[in-house]
Each structure stands twice: as structure tokens, then as C-alpha cells.
Subunit: 135 residues, 4 copies
């Protein structure tokens, strides 16, 4: 199971090199993640309501080609790994008009409770996540 | 009473016009506001601990000259007005090396409680704020 | 003539008050502006290719209700005023699910050339802009 | 040789989890990088004037503890590796008041020319960079 979300790069995303600033790709990863979670019936706000949070514990991104102002980009998100207390999403960002791959990354998240303590992913979360993983 | 805070414009603040993106000035206003509040003995975190928040209800900014990458800017902040439930700060952002005024603005804030309801600014907050205003 | 563009508020747009940070509304204004210009046949990249730029010279925003994480917002953009060397867009940002108005603003732009000098808006730009204005 | 730069986390850096949003650490890495380059006599603007650019080709960050609003953070930057066409900086971000390590990362950059083509790092750049590396 994968999610495809699109976004159009704005002027405020660019820097004086004329390309999207490198930190913005992490924002776009978040967009894909939020939509994948919604798609599997587990919107992130419902996770927070249950008292769980998924802070990022490790982020990585490979930048292959620059995204530019007004480019429509496609964010392809999958759930790549799931342990008792961590999740890893995988992202591929490509330019819509020609399919050129621009960047890819695979941030890892921990599951924590309201106090910020690492917490076992509850069954209510685990089942839809597992379904996303295995299909 | 005024506060002077400095900041150096980073690459991530610029856009492809080669100047700082216009939304970033609002971030710089916040820097000045936080430092002025600290200077008058009322750090913003202590305000939140007392159960008050100062969301912006109106923002304005005049852009006179662009800030550029690596410019050191000076943010001059004063408390311009204070009512029972609102505050207005005044900002002047200038380039440090030649004093050129770059932008000025005067966002207004409401005082709200934890539920987001408008709340009278308590005496514990009002006294240091008044001192900042009148001097 | 007006443009309607939608955007979904991401986690990275929020701050610890649990609402969208005030500077982000200026990014959303930009989204609306870019789409209105595209709609009238004058994509902003074509303006830059002709050697013109529209830096913001004055921005203002009234914040009525907060946008929150995962809110779908509608950005309604019109061209409110046009002089020989300036443009003023008008924006209304509302929450999609109930139509609640969240913010409105009316930044003004100058027309400048590659050297950053104020420049008369050329006929090639003025005609589509006038059409957007008068309807 | 290392550079130590400090920054105070602003409200606009936080998200509704009450901690700094993960993409902001990449902005802070940039602050450290810019200051290290200045310290070795090679300010980034002088690199651009020579016709070279250092876009990031790979970024990674491990998040150990969250940075919070108003935390003063120390950004420690070193040049970790240098090849004919790439550079790798290494960063450690810690909380100033207790020295707690918050995050660390090691983005890699390519050297490119004005056309975005990979370019050999010229001798004028290589000598100060080598000095930063070996000491």
C-alpha cells in the first residue's frame, strides 16, 4: 500500500540558488506521511487523541535533482518497517511533468506517550499499520 | 524602553529573488518580542505558565529594502500600546553594517487563556508591561 | 475574477499553542496569488522571464480564528488594485468544512526590474491584470 | 578546527508537540556551516562570487532529545571529509544550559558551478578547506 500526494513548490520554498531549500523536503515527507495514515484509517489526529505521538528519531534524505519554483511534485509514501516501538516510512519525491525522481528518504519515528516516554504501539494502532506494511 | 536583538540572515531565509522571503520578517519580529519580554522580567514562558497566551490578531509590515543572505540585522522592539486585553509591539529592522532601515511593523496581540478565550491581562503581567510602555 | 485554492495545514505549520504560526498565512497568500496569476494566463515564472518581479512592499493580515493541524483551508484571492507600478491582492482564508473565515489580508507589491528598480508594469502584463481587476 | 555558534529556539520553530519541528535542525546545521566557512576565511558568499555552490546531496540527522522554545542551543560544526567534488560537514547540536546533546548529523555537499554541473573544488577553495580538515 502506498500513498501519492501532490504539492506545488512555492516561492517561499526556494532559496537564492533558485531551487527548493533542503529542509523543505522534510516538510513534504510529513505531507505524505499524514496522507498515508489517513488512507489506512488512522489519521494522525486520532493517534494523538489516543495519547500517542510519533516524533522523528532519525531522518535522512538523498537529493538527486532540485525541485524548482512552481514544480508540481509527487510524494510517494510507504510504511517500510514497523517494530514494537518504532516505525519507518519511505518516501520518493518526483517531478510530476516528467516523472524525474528528485529525492528519497526514510525517516524513523518512535512511538511515545504524552510524557514523551517511549511506548509500545498499541493494538488499535498496530493493526492498521500492519495492514499498510504487508500489502 | 527598547530591546535590540541581532540575527544573521541564513540561506534558508532567502528566496530565488536573492532576498529574504517576506514571511521571515514576522519570525524576526517574534525574536525581538521574546527578548523585550525577557528584558522586562517577563519571559514568555512565564506568561504561558501563568495560563496566558498572546496570539497575534493583526500583523503588518512595511518592506523598505531587502535583507540579503548573511546580512546581520538589528531588530529594535518597543511596546507601543497596551489595553486591558491587547498589546501592540512596534518593530524596526535595520541592516547592522550601515544602519539602513529594512522593514518596520506593529503586530497587535490579544491576551487569551488556555481555552483561547480573550482574558484581561492580569496585574502580574500588567505591571512590568506598563513599565516597559511608559519609560 | 477570483481564485480559490486549497491547502491542508501540516504539523510543521503549527506551533506549541496548537495553532498555525502567524507567519505561515503569508505563505498561503503567496499560494493564492500564484494560482490567480496562472488563472489569468500570466504565470509568475513568465513574469520573471520578461524581467519583472513583484516584491511585497507592504503586508497586512487580520487573524480572526486559528487554523489548526489538518484543517483544509480555502484561499480566496482577488486583484484588488492596480497602479502603474504597484499591485494589491486581497485574500480571504477560510476553513473548508464549515466556511469559517480565519484570516484576511491585502499585501501590496511593487513591480521592479532585474536590478530591483521600480518599473512601470508593461502592457504585456497590464492587460491580463486589468481584466482580472475589472470583472 | 571547529566552530561553535549559538541560537535561541523561537516559537515559530516549535510545533504542537511543544518541541522544535524536525526540519528546523537542518536550518541550524546551515548556521553552523556558514560560520565555520567564515571562520576559515572562506565566507559562503565569496564561494558563490567565485562561481561555486555547495548544494546538499545527502542529509541525515539523529534526534536524541527535543529542543524546546527558548532553549539556547550550541551548534558545533566540523569539516569531516573532503573529496575532489564533495564535502561532508559534521554537526552536534546541544542544549547550552546543561550540555545535553540534542541532535547530530552529517550532510554531504557537492561542489557545482553556475550551471549546476558538478565541478572540481578549485585550489582557492581547497586550501582553506584542507586546513580546516586536517587541524
Amino acid at each position: 500500500m502506498k500513498n501519492l500526494t501532490t504539492y506545488r513548490v512555492i516561492y517561499g520554498d526556494t532559496d537564492q540558488m533558485g531551487v527548493a531549500y533542503y529542509a523543505n523536503y522534510l516538510r513534504w515527507f510529513e505531507m505524505g506521511r499524514t496522507e498515508l495514515l489517513r488512507q489506512i484509517g488512522l489519521p494522525y489526529s486520532s493517534i494523538e487523541e489516543k495519547g500517542f505521538f510519533f516524533p522523528v528519531i532519525e531522518a535522512s534524505c538523498r537529493y538527486l535533482k532540485p525541485a524548482r519554483f512552481d514544480d508540481e511534485i509527487a510524494i510517494e509514501t510507504t510504511l517500510a518497517a514497523l517494530s514494537r516501538v518504532t516505525l519507518e516510512f519511505s518516501y520518493r519525491i518526483s517531478r510530476k511533468h516528467d516523472g524525474q525522481l528528485l529525492a528519497e528518504g526514510a525517516p524513523r519515528h518512535a512511538c511515545v506517550d504524552r510524557e514523551g516516554k517511549v511506548a509500545k504501539i498499541s493494538t488499535a494502532l498496530e493493526n492498521p499499520l500492519k495492514a499498510a506494511l504487508t500489502r
